[in-house]
């Protein structure tokens, strides 16, 4: 008798022996989705971002004041009454302004994070994977962008952008924030491409860009997701600096960045001018972070608590599975 299984369902035997209900072969995307939905903090993060969007765009329908309409009877009012978050020194309603600012800043933050990280992933992975001339040209470009003072370039180019849509912002901000990540991604790709599973994919005839998409990028997901969430916060703030050059968000229009910038000077004396927009930024970035953490754990099979089933059925097996794998 030759038995070929090496995993009899045995007490105290293999960690993968805990029986599972027969399931339809779940592909990676479905599995990741299921694992993501299991994570409460990540879902909360997602819900908060959606709520912020809803509030930003729906609040003009019910808010008592408009962002551009000063209340000449109330200068620098603390929060209360019809001015829920107080007023500015020329009587503008802080709540309305923050909501107006959110409309743009949410989109700017999320898009910049997404675009810059994707660009970094594609350029870095391509440079690292293909090597040779591709690597040299792409890295030359990266180094060039790194040494150029981005603000100077934008200042020089700003006349061309004057009066354009603020969405140009997004491209400019993303265009100047991906280079360092691309360099890190390239370095990681150099080690990943020598892994045997990448070689295996190559030897089975997989196309290079599919190898990058299927094997290399998912294995750097932790780095990319952290990078994206950090960039979201940074983009909202650095947009203030760009506004200084006179394009994009111009008064009386506001963004979260400009509100924070103008509120900074009165942070001690009239705290609501600073803390309200800053608080919204913190809530926004925090929920993006929670969402990113959840996504990262969902993508990473070794993350703790990813196998809820095992945990509930047999405590004391999950960790062994993880450690046993490394042994």
């Amino acid at each position: 008798m030759v038995t070929l299984t090496e995993d009899g369902a045995t007490p105290g035997g293999s960690p993968v022996d805990t029986s599972v209900a027969a399931e339809r072969s779940p592909s990676r995307s479905r599995l990741v989705l299921r694992r993501f939905l299991r994570r409460k903090p990540a879902l909360i993060g997602l819900v908060v971002v959606v709520l912020l969007y809803a509030a930003a765009f729906l609040s003009p329908l019910f808010a008592p004041w408009d962002y551009a309409e000063p209340d000449y009877t109330a200068f620098l009012q603390p929060p209360g009454g019809t001015h829920w978050f107080g007023t500015t020194k020329i009587g503008e309603d802080v709540f309305a302004q923050v909501m107006r600012g959110l409309q743009k800043s949410l989109t700017i933050g999320l898009l910049v994070g997404l675009i810059s990280t994707s660009l970094a992933a594609v350029v870095g992975a391509a440079a690292g994977y293909f090597g040779g001339w591709t690597d040299r040209v792409l890295m030359w470009l990266v180094d060039l962008l790194l040494v150029l003072p981005s603000f100077l370039v934008i200042a020089v180019a700003s006349p061309a952008f004057k009066g354009q849509s603020w969405l140009i912002f997004v491209l400019l901000l993303a265009g100047f924030s991906w280079m360092i990540t691309a360099r890190i991604v390239r370095g990681m790709t150099l080690t990943l491409r020598e892994r045997e599973y990448v070689k295996a994919a190559r030897f089975m005839g997989q196309a290079p860009f599919r190898i990058i998409a299927k094997h290399i990028v998912p294995n750097m997901a932790s780095l990319l997701i952290i990078d994206a969430t950090v960039t979201v916060g940074a983009a909202v703030l650095s947009e203030t600096g760009l506004s200084f050059f006179g394009f994009g968000v111009q008064p009386p229009d506001v963004s979260l960045g400009t509100l924070i910038a103008s509120g900074t000077e009165s942070a001690i004396t009239y705290p609501w001018l600073f803390y309200v927009p800053a608080g919204f930024l913190v809530v926004f970035v925090l929920s993006v972070n929670l969402f990113g953490d959840g996504l990262r754990d969902a993508l990473d099979p070794s993350a703790a608590g990813s196998r809820k089933r095992d945990k509930k059925v047999k405590k004391g097996k999950t960790g062994k599975t993880g450690t046993g794998a490394q042994a």
Partner: protein, 718 residues
């Protein structure tokens, strides 16, 4: 050994009594799931001059127990019991007090000689450091340096005075391990603990290092604890054996006794699971099913019970202690006789069953195609005069060529349908380069590669992709060869997606593949990390089978697996070959595995094939001196045979392939060359021998003569 005698006092009568006594040692570590009981009540004794071999799979607690003796466990470990070194209790001593003993009276040889030496100090300095640390005030710097050179000379490093000034990276792996042994014996210790001292080394070097350890033991008279997973290594070296399983000793006794009359099913299975180099015809390999248990919450009863074919209900109620095996003499009364932890050991003694009988293993038949004469079978892979050189460049801005490494220098072989060719040789001989060239299907520097009659170089992109369907690969490290972020359903589907299979076919094929390699269908949604090493290697094999290939290239497919798991994977490969009529190109450094699985074998040395032919012809009557040396270096798991064997020890290490010797590349290390008269030596140095021979057995040596280095196994063996 006169030099050695002046260096060491040697064993003396005054230090009688056991060097080391370990009693009821228990070690546990905290983990997320509760405490891991790594060692659970281990007791053993080592007498002066005695060699104790501790054998076990990974995770059996063998290394942890020896680290406990050295006091090198992390602070989080909880250690109880008693460890007495020359009557002095070591447990509970402070680190400072232990440091006075460590390195002076007890020393350790680690597995990886590269990380055991500090890269920024010279080897001589590191040996001298060991002497100066423990002999402060009594040993002068000059004395220590002189002694370091003497020690290097003793462990067989040529030109020791000059080499003492070299840095570790200038040493080869074997020389580094020698240097580590030199450090270990520098202070004339009473006990040497060697933790897998040869695992990271090549077989020829392994034989050298074991010799050095033997010398070290002779000159110092120290007791040695050698920890290994390789039953072959200890067979020829150890006096007593201790088999560990799940943190406990399950069998212990005289090495001859344990090998001849194993009384615990686990030992029986371990001995049956290793392919033997001296097997004349194919022996069944015993796979031990399942995996070692998790050590966090062991169920009551014998920990081996879930994997044991002889399990009865009584096994599940209580963990058996070590019983004295009937018939063995416990002369000293200190438990050094033959003991086994199995309640049925008396029955095993009565019946003396074969491992294959107990575990139910049988020889797997040959594929149907094997009946067709070789010459009439289709050529699956044909490699002719393959050349691969790597250029060595210097300079950072203007790179200039300073030389070339001839990794593969004109090798030719073919593989016919249903056949396994084993490709063997030391690391650095060009095995892997050959594989990568075959798998890469790229432009070659010289020679040609044809798969199923199609020349790879003449194909366009589509043709190459079509060839990849017929040629698949299984890698060495099952951990690295599966994408950790992909569930295995996707892993298995990937090759089919690449080759454009419809989704419905893929969905049907994936469960089929899992069945084929003995995994469960429900496992599709799991990630590779949730599987054990053996199971992951099965997944790797299933992926290779997905496209119904004709040829599978196996790069050391079992060398990363534990012995008991290894047998299961070898049996699987054997069975798949018989059922599916596959051809294998099997690259391995373990010649025993090659002997078991291969039909033909090619021996490589420095980018050349030195001997090729039918596996029985090459292993039974090797003609090239290198093959003879290689075969004689493989340990055989049989203490009697192993001690009687005449071992051909190769001098030195593999020469650099950037600057290979002239003529016959092997002449610098060849024992045959050394015995030749001057005028015949010139032929070896000047003319490169061609690969020629009769029938299906060729060799490349001017003065080849066959010499049996492995005695075939007698029929009555177990």
């Amino acid at each position: 050994m006169t030099a050695a005698e002046t260096l060491f006092e040697g064993p003396d009568a005054e230090r009688a009594g056991p060097v080391l006594e370990v009693d009821d040692l228990r070690v546990s570590f905290p983990s997320e799931d509760g405490r891991v009981q790594a060692v659970r009540g281990l007791s053993y004794r080592v007498a002066p001059g005695e060699v104790l071999g501790i054998v076990g799979e990974s995770g059996s607690g063998k290394s942890v127990s020896s680290l406990a003796v050295m006091g090198l466990l992390p602070d989080s470990a909880r250690v109880t019991g008693s460890i007495r070194f020359r009557g002095r209790e070591l447990l509970g001593l402070s680190d400072g007090e232990l440091s006075k003993i460590r390195g002076r009276r007890v020393s350790m040889v680690f597995q990886d000689p590269l990380s055991a030496l500090t890269p920024v100090y010279t080897v001589g300095d590191q040996i001298a450091e060991a002497l100066l640390t423990h002999g402060r005030g009594r040993v002068s710097r000059q004395q220590a340096d002189r002694r370091a050179v003497e020690l290097l000379d003793l462990v067989g490093i040529p030109n020791a005075a000059a080499r003492a000034k070299a840095f570790p990276h200038e040493f080869s792996g074997g020389m580094r391990q020698r240097a580590v042994i030199a450090i270990a014996i520098a202070n004339d210790p009473d006990l040497i603990i060697a933790d897998e001292p040869t695992t990271a080394l090549d077989v020829t070097v392994q034989a050298q290092v074991l010799e050095v350890l033997k010398t070290a033991q002779e000159v110092t008279g120290a007791g040695i604890v050698i920890i290994t997973h390789d039953l072959g290594v200890v067979a020829g070296f150890a006096d007593r054996l201790l088999v560990m399983y799940a943190g406990r000793a399950v069998e212990t006794g005289d090495v001859h006794e344990v090998y001849r009359r194993p009384r615990m099913p686990y030992t029986l299975g371990l001995l049956g699971s290793i392919p033997r180099l001296d097997a004349a015809q194919k022996q069944p390999l015993v796979p031990i099913e399942g995996q070692p248990p998790s050590l966090t919450d062991l169920p009551p009863g014998c920990p081996f019970a879930p994997r044991c074919p002889m399990v009865v209900d009584a096994c599940l109620t209580e963990e058996p202690p070590l019983f004295q095996v009937d018939g063995s003499v416990d002369a000293t009364g200190d438990g050094t006789g033959h003991r086994a932890a199995c309640i049925r050991s008396a029955e095993i003694a009565e019946r003396e069953p074969d491992a294959a009988e107990v575990f139910g293993a049988e020889v797997i038949g040959e594929p149907e195609i094997a009946a067709v004469p070789r010459a009439e079978r289709e050529v699956v892979l044909d490699v002719a005069d393959l050349v691969k050189t790597f250029t060595v460049t210097k300079g950072s801005v203007f790179k200039r060529k300073v030389g070339a490494v001839h990794a593969v220098d004109g090798i030719s072989f073919d593989i016919r349908a249903g056949e396994t060719l084993g490709l063997v040789g030391e690391s650095g001989c060009g095995k892997t380069t050959t594989l990568m060239e075959i798998l890469g299907l790229e432009e070659l520097m010289g020679g040609s590669i044809s798969v199923l009659g199609k020349r790879a170089a003449e194909l366009d992109k589509a043709g190459r992709k079509a060839i990849r369907r017929d040629m698949q690969v299984v890698f060495q490290d099952p951990q690295a060869s599966l994408d950790p972020r992909m569930p295995i359903g996707d892993v298995l589907a990937e090759p089919m997606q690449v080759h454009g299979y419809p989704a419905a076919d893929i969905a049907k094929r994936v469960p089929e593949l899992l069945d084929l390699v003995g995994l469960r269908r429900e496992h599709v949604g799991r990630y590779p990390a949730e599987f054990s090493g053996g199971q992951r290697q099965r997944i790797g094999i299933a992926r290779a089978l997905a496209l119904n290939p004709r040829l599978i290239v196996l790069d050391e497919p079992v060398s990363a697996l534990d012995v008991s798991i290894q047998a299961g994977v070898i049996n699987l490969l054997d069975r798949l070959k018989a059922e599916l009529g596959l051809s294998y190109l099997f690259v391995a450094h373990d010649l025993s595995v090659v002997r078991h699985i291969a039909d033909r074998v090619a021996v490589m040395y420095l980018g050349k094939i030195v001997e090729i032919g039918d596996v029985d012809a090459v292993f039974g009557a090797p003609r090239h001196p290198y093959t003879q040396a290689l075969l004689s270096a493989i340990p055989i798991p049989d203490p009697v045979k192993e001690r009687q064997r005449e071992r051909i020890i190769l001098e030195g290490d593999l020469p650099s392939p950037a600057n290979p010797p002239t003529g016959c590349r092997f002449h610098t290390r060849c024992f045959l060359y050394a015995s030749l008269p001057e005028e015949r030596r010139r032929i070896c140095v000047e003319t490169e021998p061609a690969l020629e021979g009769s029938g299906d057995h060729s060799d490349a040596c001017h003065f080849a003569r066959s010499r049996a280095v492995v005695e075939p196994m007698a029929d009555d063996h177990r």
